[in-house]
């Protein structure tokens, strides 16, 4: 008796161990199947994003190019006279930086902090080997700005290896000489406006896509297969066509001597002198972006609508609901997962747009993506580009999680 019990227990333990092993193997084999993708995306996708976020707060340029001067400023609290040690360290730093051909990096960084630093630094570097102690008056003789507290406060700000300065700049803020955070002067403020404009454009495009796309999705889901397929082709063909092609098409259509204006002038309502400005402004951006993103709204809504059993609505009607009532109380709520997916997709894609506003946006249609590119490729203020990227990414992720919370990831369908 005892024997059998132990035997069956042992057997059971064996069995469960075997099952456990099989499960484990299955788990690990499934895991290893996905591993190459995880590794690939981590290295080639996540790492670059991490890098740019890191750059928005990490800025070692000045401490690398002018290490001794930077060191000399660490203990200075920004009040009173600039430290003599910094003046003393600067000539040798400048000479070293020039011999290593890296002074340009410091020039760029400092000029971002305070316009005018360029010429001060270059002038100082040219005569660095002829300067002699005492250095403070020697620098003052080269350029009187070297004697001012403000110069050295800006220098110290730029020398911070870990800094929130770029995020301040990305919000149109700056630190004044006394370290207080203040609003930038109006003529230099732009990013808050741009962020607002970006989200307003994204919101407007989303609303436009929803109002244009929902009825069509409804039509497609409630018609004969022939018409459904025909309409599907007309939705999918633009969807598969390159963004740059569609943007080009809108340029051709909307420019002053373009097809739309030609038609308008040919009609009795517009005179030759009344050609409309439909492009190179906000209007052009809105039209082109709505066109480009419309399929991203229609397809998810359609895929949800087509799965709504028609007898639900019929049941509501037979129970006495009016047609609008049945729509509002039965059909619309059932189609909401598709609407949510479409709204999320369109909004997120729109907020990150860059190509289309760059080509058809003129000046009033520029979005934050265009300024990220501007600072990446034109001003080379990479820290600011990184901070703008960080804020944009945060905005997009917040939208994403709000939608996931309200709708749920598994209920959203794309294409």
């Amino acid at each position: 008796m005892d024997m059998t019990v132990t035997a069956s227990q042992a057997l059971r333990a064996d069995l469960s161990a075997a099952i456990e092993r099989t499960n484990k193997r299955a788990r690990s084999s499934a895991f290893w199947m996905a591993m190459p993708l995880v590794a690939f995306l981590t290295v080639f996708f996540v790492l670059p994003i991490g890098d740019i976020l890191w750059r928005s707060v990490y800025n070692p340029t000045l401490s690398e190019v002018l290490p001794h001067t930077t060191n000399a400023l660490v203990s200075w609290n920004g009040r009173g006279n600039p430290p003599i040690r910094a003046y003393n360290a600067l000539p040798q730093d400048l000479i070293n930086a020039q011999s290593k051909d890296i002074l340009g990096k410091a020039v760029t960084r400092l000029n971002i902090e305070m316009p005018g630093f360029r010429s001060m630094l270059i002038k100082a570097a040219r005569s660095a080997d002829q300067l002699s102690a005492p250095y403070a008056p020697a620098f003052g003789a080269l350029d009187s700005r070297w004697g001012s507290r403000e110069t050295w406060v800006k220098f110290k700000n730029a020398a911070e290896v870990y800094t929130l300065g770029f995020y301040l700049a990305a919000l149109d803020l700056e630190r004044n000489v006394d370290g207080q955070i203040i609003q930038k002067p109006q003529e230099d403020s732009i990013y808050v406006t741009l962020f607002l404009r970006t989200f307003v454009i994204a919101g407007l495009v989303t609303v436009l896509c929803l109002f244009i796309g929902y009825p069509l999705a409804f039509m497609m889901a409630n018609t004969t297969p022939f018409w459904r397929n025909s309409m599907m082709v007309l939705v999918l063909l633009p969807f598969w066509t390159s963004v740059i092609v569609r943007t080009t098409a809108w340029i051709v259509l909307l420019q002053r001597e373009g097809v739309v204006n030609d038609l308008a002038v040919a009609s009795p309502f517009f005179a030759e002198t009344e050609r409309m400005d439909l492009i190179h402004n906000m209007t052009g951006t809105l039209i082109a972006m709505t066109h480009i993103l419309l399929p991203f709204m229609i397809l998810p809504i359609y895929s949800v609508m087509i799965a709504i059993p028609p007898h639900y609505v019929r049941a509501a009607r037979s129970l006495g609901a009016s047609a609008p009532g049945a729509f509002w109380q039965v059909y619309l709520p059932l189609s909401m997962p598709g609407v949510g997916a479409g709204v999320l997709l369109v909004f997120i894609l729109a907020a990150g747009f860059y190509i289309t506003p760059a080509l058809v946006g003129g000046d009033s249609g520029q979005m934050i993506g265009n300024f990220i590119s501007f600072h990446m490729n034109e001003t080379l203020n990479w820290g600011l580009a990184a901070a703008l990227s960080g804020l944009l990414l945060a905005g997009v992720l917040i939208m994403y999680f709000i939608f996931i919370r309200t709708i749920g990831l598994d209920r959203m369908r794309v294409a």
Binding site: M33, F45, I49, M219, D262, Y331, Y354
Partner: protein, 289 residues
């Protein structure tokens, strides 16, 4: 169900808008469809314009043969820069599609197994290239890839486009695999097939259409992509969209319209191929039930 539908082809009229309402509604939908397709339809004839204008000339409207010409297509064909860009686009798209498809398919197989650990996390990672604005990714890549010497190389662009194509492969493949009946391959193995045999003889043919659709999505993604090309590509990595970009910004010549028309044809071809693949999938799905 399918027979019932076939015998009753009438629309599912759950809402009755009245005749005026129906007409208004249809007219609205027609307008929307026109909005969607008109830009593409306008580009095609304009690309055959004999004059360097972006609007229809009198002679074009009168269907006068002298108003129409192939000159912009010739310009494309005779311009080494355009030819080079076609070559680059295909090289980058083909190899990035290969990478995305292989990685995405294996991951999708893992993700559809019932006992996949960290499924949500891995799924979120795989889909994130669709969510993060490309401009941010491209900026980050230009630093990191630059540090690795991958900037201004075809390899760099191929890797970048592979990351952007992966979500599409993962989405289509998980959808395909979740409808795939695993008992089929188990049955094959029960009947004496080796796992490899059962994969190639049973599983692969069944998931092939989904695989093709995912690969085509990845191909189209790479073929269209411009932002990472602008940030990572050098003068030797000019792709078709990059060539169009500089064309539009510098001097918009109708040659761009010719290129655009060709790209519309590529898009239509891809669309057709995907639909064929999905039809195939559906017929397998029918077999399954």
């Amino acid at each position: 169900m399918s027979i019932a539908e076939a015998t009753k082809p009438r629309p599912r009229k759950a809402f009755d808008l009245g005749s005026a309402g129906t007409i208004a509604f249809r007219a609205y939908c027609l307008l929307v469809l026109a909005f969607l397709i008109a830009p593409l339809l306008v580009i095609v004839p304009l690309s055959f314009n004999a004059e360097p204008y972006f609007t229809f000339t009198q002679s074009m409207l009168q269907l006068d043969p002298t108003g129409w010409s192939y000159r912009w297509y010739e310009e494309l064909r005779n311009n080494p820069q355009w030819l080079e860009s076609v070559k680059n686009s295909f090289i980058v798209a083909v190899f990035s599609t290969l990478i995305a498809t292989v990685l995405g398919t294996f991951a999708a197989i893992g993700l559809t197994r019932p006992n996949m650990p960290y499924r949500g996390l891995i799924m979120a990672l795989a889909l994130s290239p669709m969510i993060v604005p490309v401009i941010i990714v491209a900026a980050g890549m230009s630093f990191v890839y630059g540090g690795w010497g991958l900037k201004q190389t075809h390899l760099g662009l191929i890797l970048a486009h592979a990351t952007l194509g992966i979500p599409f492969v993962v989405v289509t493949m998980t959808a395909t695999l979740s409808t795939f009946d695993r008992r089929l391959s188990q049955a094959a193995q029960g009947l004496g097939a080796t796992p490899i045999q059962s994969f190639f003889e049973v599983t692969f043919p069944l998931i092939m259409p989904g695989l093709a659709a995912g690969a085509l999505f990845a191909f189209a993604t790479s073929f269209d992509e411009l932002v990472t090309v602008l940030f990572l590509g050098g003068p030797d990595q000019v792709t078709i969209p990059r060539q169009m970009w500089s064309g539009i910004r510098e001097q918009i010549s109708p040659a761009i319209l010719a290129a655009a028309t060709l790209l519309i044809c590529v898009a239509a071809t891809l669309l057709i191929l995907v639909q064929l693949a999905q039809n195939q999938q559906k017929s397998y799905g029918g077999m399954k039930s």
